[in-house]
Amino acid sequence: MAKAKNIAEFIIERDEKKCIKCQACVRVCSNDVHNYDEETEEILSDNIKCVGCHFCEDICPTGALTIRRNLSETKENAHWTRDYIYKVVKQASTGGILLTGMGNDRPYKNYFEHIVLNAAQVTNPSIDPLREPMELKTFIGRKPDRIIYDKTRGKYILKERVTNLLELELPVMFSAMSFGSISLNACKSLAKAASASGVYWNTGEGGLHKDLYPYADRAIVQIASGRFGVNVEYLEKAAAVEIKIGQGAKPGIGGHLPGEKVSEEISLTRMIPEGSDAISPAPHHDIYSIEDLRQLIFAIKEATSYRKPVGVKIAAVHNVAPIASGIVRAGADFITIDGIRGGTGAAPVAIRDNVGIPIEIAVAVVDQRLREEGIRNQASIIAAGGFRTSADIVKAIALGADAVYIGTAALIALGCHVCQKCYTGKCNWGIATQDPYLTRRLNPEIGAKRLSNLLRAWALEIKEMLGGMGINAIESLRGNREQLRAVGLNEVELNLLGIKHAGEAW
């Protein structure tokens, strides 16, 4: 049967006038796209194998390579676009679930792009952050209902016991990415940058590798459904513990690290046999209710002598506000909400592209609900899933988040070009791979520097935006929805976000 075959997504253009045949492209491509023919002394490139990661383009010393999207078009059809046609083609030939990596790439409404920020004019002065102090310091964890203190001989003594809080220099953290889903060099880059910049990184469900112990005081360790790598040392060394219930890219779906990626190092860190599949079940088999969750939260608190904040991470789903309320009442010190655009190393396309709700709305409704119930101070809200710029972060904080997690943005700083092929384990940038040929491509010294640069740049921008609003501390922006106005949102959306439309005064 004649059948449609997969078409090349990209076309590799080689400028023969510039190509010096140094073969750097041939040597570096993990997908074997480029081949040198000894006889003709030519380099031939196989378009169909190209995933569009742009590594060869970046490494080419003469700029002879350009990766373009293949413009071969199917007949114009608003419903049956090329993407959908080739998804069917692929499944008709493989019979399997389509996999993908990174976050949702579908054109759902992006609320960040419908929200604008305020600035001070005449009636209140704006602040120049270069000349005046500007506070971005953020504390994550349970805050007491009221401050009870004794004043003796001019000294104030706090009477209420406060759990240790996480102290952040700016309200941005690196989200959970496990050693296994990403390389050890990628983990090291994140850990070093978090330590250097005064924020936190997250181990994901990959355990804490011994090389990362020096950065453990800046680590949030995760306990997920597979319980990989959880031991006394893991809990003792970490700054905080996060129980992972769900993930924005694949709510309701578990994880699967294939056996071929479970190297000696990963097997030691995850505490599983080398070469065995690491399967994280979809649910925690000991958590079927808020009461069960409370048991686990307090088991961890007992194990860590109530010294560390314990949080819970959930995917943003329809019932997110009541669930969050339950989680806070179960004793969580922080709650992480991962929106529909949250990334992943591997997820079924059908799930990633269709399950969950946008983080903008989820944060707004959770913050609102916790305020209404008078329990907002009991837990911090960490928003995750698709944060691209400092402005997205400012908007999320004004909607009620305490801090945000960045994953994809951090990986892009490390070289990622969002080709969505993380699940193949062939990441040319040395990030989402365990192949020793590829992992060495990510030098943690360079990686950490680039991540620190990104955080520094965002901190500067956040300060500028705050200054413009006439605010001198991020604490004054938190949940301050008056600083936001919507452009082109309907009434339901405005109500859910709790913001006014542009043009409406205070």
């Binding site: 140094c22 490494i59 020793p436 491509r441």
Partner: protein, 158 residues
């Protein structure tokens, strides 16, 4: 005086061999990458040597040894130490092609020209440049420049 030296971080070598490309370009007449490779110029031989086995690879060049066997064994004084910079350099005019330096180099980083019977290439830490070409262009900082005390020298940006 001890020279500035090149430090190899083999754990970060990605095997692209661009160090060779830039070494050749730097020692060519035009110093232009496309002319060097595609023009009519005689292309020089790389002074940096790429080694690879399995996933491990690195590029190595002359270490400019404090006690350099190549200088000791050179019959004509073609291989000499530059007093000012401490580098081990090679004078092609004095070289008679006995290849004693090649025999005695413990690292095998001196290359020979069989036709002209001379030494053809050896790292000079890029005489004309402040910063060696291989160090500057290594995409993963697997080749670093260190000063006399062994501390990393970074190129000033901008």
């Amino acid at each position: 005086m001890k020279p500035r030296r090149i430090l190899i971080k083999e754990e970060y070598c990605i095997g692209c061999r661009l160090c060779e490309v830039y070494c050749i370009t730097q020692h060519s007449p035009s110093k232009d990458i496309i002319r060097t490779y595609k023009g009519s110029e005689v292309r020089p031989v790389s002074g940096i040597y790429f080694e690879e086995k399995g996933s491990v690879s690195f590029a190595i060049q002359c270490r400019h040894c404090d006690e350099a066997p190549c200088i000791e064994n050179c019959l004509t004084g073609a291989m000499y130490r530059d007093e000012k910079t401490g580098r081990v350099l090679h004078n092609r005019d004095k070289c008679v092609g006995c290849w004693m330096c090649v025999m005695s180099c413990p690292l095998g980083v001196i290359k020979i020209d069989y036709e002209k019977k001379k030494v053809v290439s050896k790292c000079d830490l890029c005489i004309d440049r402040e910063f060696p070409a291989c160090v500057e262009h290594c995409p993963n900082e697997a080749i670093l420049l260190v000063d006399e005390k062994g501390e990393r020298v970074e190129k000033k940006s901008g």
